[in-house]
Amino acid sequence: MGGKLDDYRAVAPRGSVDFMLRIAERLRGRRIVQVSVSRYGGAADEILNRIVPILNDLGIEAAWEVMLGSAEFEAIVTAVSKGLAGVEQVVTEGMLARLHATCAENARRLPLDADLVIVHDAATLLLVEGRPPAGHWLWRYHGDLSSPQPQLWNALRPFADKYDAAVFSAAKFAAPLSTRRFVIAPSIDPLSERNREMPRGEQSRHLERLGVRMDKPILLQVGPFERLQDPLGVVNAYRLVKKHHDVRLVLAGSPPGPGGVLAETQEAASQDPDVTVLVLPPDPQTELNALERAATIVLQKPLFTDFGADVATAMWKGKPVVGSLAGGIPSQIVSKVTGYTVETVEGAAFRVRHLLSNPELIGRMGAAGREHVRRNFLITRHLGDYLALLAHLTG
């Protein structure tokens, strides 16, 4: 669990918690409603679980409402989300009509009268049809909307334009819209289970349970075993490094969906006792915390991703990150300061070798990364951005 605002004083930048209280004073008594399609499992849900209680702690009336829908609706949500992310889907007129009807039912059911209504992600987009006359409405899209499936986007864009503004995680993720567009980067919660401080003894117990030995430097990539995460590319980078340095590689992620590359990755790992493939249990926050703390260098080399906040979580633990240029990764890594951005397997191997050959750099870049995250990617900054937007829109 995350904490109350006061708990963040020890980790947030100097003066920032008091500053947050001051911003909130300006906005006390205002009401914010956040709406998402589920309470667990999505990019929006993780951050809402933390931000909503803190907003209330600040004296701003904050509520979090969740859409209700049938099993058929859930399938539509998945198809629409994938389609907007640019993965070709079959979304029929009938499916869009069902989406429309579900949003209309929820708009009638949910208490959406507020100074600011923030509607998260694709499936909730059509709620705007039922918006009351008062209040400002924001559409918060957490993924990459730069190349959506054209016909699907043509059908949905008119609804996005009915919001007072849209909010994207990075400028490069934004689609052209007639309405105003704002940029708010995602954040990590330093007090969450994934990021909290973990005593060495506890860390060792988790690693032992996972079968990860700490007798050699560890290279770690976290991510599902899917082709777009390029775990095989990471194995190849490791092999190039292994010619010069005695290291271990740990690939840790959730079980893949259809078309995953778990079997291929396990096959590649089976030939090398220093490669460990870990299929993690659901919600593996504790395990990831232990693994990231055990890592010497973290790799994050997907071919396609959204913001990729796994980079920030690793940096928060003082690890240099070698990452690809996909999604929001380059906006988190300050290349040559907190790690390196690379375009190829060879580039990743070269940078990892360079770090292993210059261990003082590992410590220096790790420390710079933690500070970079402290100032730019903690939940306190995120909260401040929301409060600023509320103040800007509502005067």
């Binding site: 930048p13 100032r375 103040a391």
Partner: protein, 220 residues
């Protein structure tokens, strides 16, 4: 001392708005720089200090960073990085220097300008001032308040005041001079280069100057 002469520390938060302006090469960058609102030029140059990364050799503006990463044009990068809002003193001055630099660069090109992988996307800041609750009537109170205030306070009173609101030397130097009558200290504060690093480094340099002044007047 009357309350009107107290220094009231304001912090600020920025809302970043994405504008419908993009550039794919140096020529388009020039066209858009001529066209975008002044707040956007501010956001990509002086405003950058809010989120400036910790390395000392970070580019001082987003245009230079883009020319390096996306256009991979070293000459243009170096020329854009040399543009110094501290010396130019106003956003329109910065815009004119950017235009002149890009025009000169394009004139010297023998081929069409190369296109970047990612376009330059223009943003603008909307600044929301926030009272910090810190006030100072003496130099010592001023030093103490500056020590604990949110870093955005430095942005508001130095960068925003100086480059967007056109308040000459910045609010700190102005108050130290006109209210406390400390002309030499004001001069020292106004000479601190805000582009020398992060806001925390700017704070440190102010605190060094203030501590020295307090020591000179007898005990910090």
């Amino acid at each position: 001392m009357p309350a009107a002469e107290h220094f009231v520390f304001q912090g600020c938060v920025q809302v970043r708005e994405l504008l419908p302006h993009e550039a794919h090469d140096a020529r388009e960058l020039l066209e858009e720089i001529r066209r975008v609102p002044a707040e956007s030029i501010f956001c990509h140059t002086s405003g950058l200090l809010v989120h400036r990364p910790p390395e000392p050799d970070a580019y001082p503006n987003d245009f230079a960073l883009w020319a390096d990463i996306e256009l991979r044009d070293r000459r243009l990068t170096e020329r854009l990085a040399a543009i110094d809002p501290f010396r130019l003193g106003s956003i329109e001055g910065v815009r004119a220097e950017l235009v002149s630099t890009l025009e000169h660069h394009l004139q010297q090109l023998s081929a069409a300008p190369s296109r970047g992988g990612e376009p330059f996307r223009f943003l603008q800041y909307h600044l929301v001032p926030v009272p910090t609750g810190h006030e100072a009537g003496t130099l010592r109170e001023f030093r103490d308040a500056l020590t604990g205030a949110d870093a955005s306070t430095l942005f508001f009173h130095i960068i925003e005041a100086r480059y967007r609101l056109g308040r000459g030397r910045g609010d700190f130097a102005e108050w130290v001079d006109t209210v406390l009558g400390r002309h030499e200290l004001a001069e020292r504060l106004s000479r601190i280069d805000p582009y020398a690093g992060t806001l925390e480094r700017v704070r440190e340099r102010h605190l060094i100057a203030l501590n020295r002044a307090l020591e000179e007047e007898g005990g910090a």
